[in-house]
């Protein structure tokens, strides 16, 4: 491919909308674009920097691994709101570049190792069992999201951070509102409340440490603002992500009964099943990077100051990497999927998410052998795909 190839093509503005009636599939226009132009110039208003959409697996991976593509929000032009983004709040690792990013991430990686997270399996099992007990008492029917999908990861991350048990309910309610609400102003206000609460809690642990992650961080060289910011970031990152995977993942399994039956009959499939659900659903589906210097990407001439939009969900359906990508196949190897990203920002909490899902999906299927949707599938309310896809509620019966 040559630069001429791109100059000869008009900029495009494909629809990011998911196809009607196929809630698990990415935008068909983005899929089509991936086949024609895995790096495509997007149409933007006069005077805006160049904005490029990257949809091919190899190229998305390349962008995520290359330090010439910046995560700092202020380097990124948002093609939907037509302006540059404000800088990330203090402590938000997703909006930082090395070395500032490295300094904070290094404080956290030891707390989220494979070994440490696997040690939480037993606790995840207890929490999951308690929630299934509640669900069984309350129903049928029940809305899986508030009774199961949200509280399991919420309780896990709260215990890990060291949020006192008595305060947990009000706190997680505000936190869900903060990260998952439809009303932007209410969400922002709730986020501010939760951030303030966490900041106070973390600062209190500075004086009087307990045995938890916030206390460990309180003993580090983070400033008070950074400590509060990192705490809020970790909570936000731990709360809605796995919750959406459990909700949307259950929906996907219920819509693929042969796959569900396979997992129920052979719980040994669970590790691969979780990876495949991550790939297939790719709930964190779209990211931005700012281009720091001129660089050629897949033949396209990117300039310093341009912005790159990456479609993780479309990349995870790239047939060059995953044959028959639109089928949910729990027995395939989904290794290499980009659902947790790639590069220095790859999800810090991925092993925690895996433990939660490996416990929760099989336990749910085992507890309710007759689990099924309580409404027609087209009536399951879906979230906006950006920033995080999922179901708003999942009415089930058994």
């Amino acid at each position: 491919m040559t630069n001429t190839y791109y100059r000869e093509h008009e900029p495009v503005m494909p629809s990011f909308d998911r196809p009607a009636g196929r809630p698990f599939d990415p935008s068909p226009e983005l899929i089509a674009l991936r086949g024609e132009r895995p790096v495509a110039r997007l149409a933007v208003p006069e005077g805006a920097p160049g904005v490029w959409l990257v949809t091919g697996y190899d190229l998305v991976r390349k962008v995520l691994a290359d330090p010439r593509f910046s995560s700092r929000y202020e380097t990124q032009y948002h093609p939907l709101v037509h302006t540059h983004m404000p800088p990330a709040p203090v402590g938000d690792l997703t909006g930082m570049d090395p070395p500032a990013h490295t300094r904070i991430r290094k404080l956290l990686t030891g707390k989220f190792t494979v070994r440490r997270m696997n040690q939480l399996t037993e606790r995840a099992t207890e929490i999951t069992r308690d929630r299934l007990d509640e669900m069984e008492k309350a129903g049928p029917p029940a809305d899986l999201v508030p009774v199961f999908a949200q509280p399991v990861p919420a309780q896990m991350i709260c215990e890990l951070l060291g949020v006192p048990y008595g305060e947990r309910d009000a706190f997680t309610e505000a936190a869900h509102l903060a990260s998952g609400g439809d009303d932007f102003e209410a969400s922002a206000a709730a986020f501010a409340r939760v951030s303030e609460y966490l900041r106070d809690l973390a600062l209190a642990k500075r004086a009087d440490p307990t045995d938890d992650l916030l206390s460990d961080l309180a003993g580090s060289d983070l400033t008070d603002d950074e400590l509060g910011g990192v705490a809020a970031f970790l909570l936000g990152a731990g709360l809605e992500t796995t919750a959406n995977m459990l909700g949307l993942g259950t929906f996907a399994l219920l819509r693929n009964p042969a796959q569900l039956a396979a997992l129920r009959e052979d719980p040994g499939l669970v590790n691969g099943a979780v990876e495949e659900l991550l790939r297939y659903l790719s709930i964190a589906n779209t990211g931005l990077r700012g281009v720091l210097e001129d660089v050629e990407l897949g033949g396209a001439p990117l300039k310093a100051g341009d912005t790159v939009v990456i479609s993780l969900d479309v990349a995870n359906r790239d047939p060059a990497k995953f044959p028959g990508p639109d089928a949910l196949d729990l027995r395939r190897s989904a290794t290499g999927h980009l659902a947790f990203g790639h590069g220095v920002h790859q999800c810090l909490g991925q092993q925690l998410a895996r433990v939660e899902m490996r416990v929760a999906f099989p336990a749910l299927l085992a507890r309710f052998p007759g689990l099924r949707l309580a409404v027609p599938p087209e009536e399951v309310p879906l979230r906006n795909p950006i920033p995080l896809y999922g179901v708003r509620s999942l009415p089930v019966t058994w």
């Binding site: 995520l64 990686t109 707390k111 989220f112 494979v114 070994r115 290794t335 790639h342 991925q350 092993q351």
Partner: protein
């Protein structure tokens, strides 16, 4: 197969320790990769290759033994 790791590049995501736990581990204090077996037997080559392939920071290098 000979394996080397670059601890300075590692971002502690843990993919290697998950995929090939007989070959890679993570340091307790900061999650950085440690190498348990720099010259693994053939049955561990496939998981080691997966680990090197998916490493988010490119911290793992595999070379065929001379």
């Amino acid at each position: 197969m000979k394996i080397t790791v670059d601890q300075g590049r590692c971002v502690g995501a843990g993919q290697c320790a998950r995929l090939a736990p007989d070959v890679f581990d993570q340091r307790e204090e900061d999650g950085v990769v440690t190498l348990l077996d720099p010259a693994p037997p053939p049955e561990r080559h496939a998981p080691a290759r997966d680990a090197a392939d998916v490493c988010p920071s490119g911290a793992i290098t595999l070379t065929a033994r001379p």
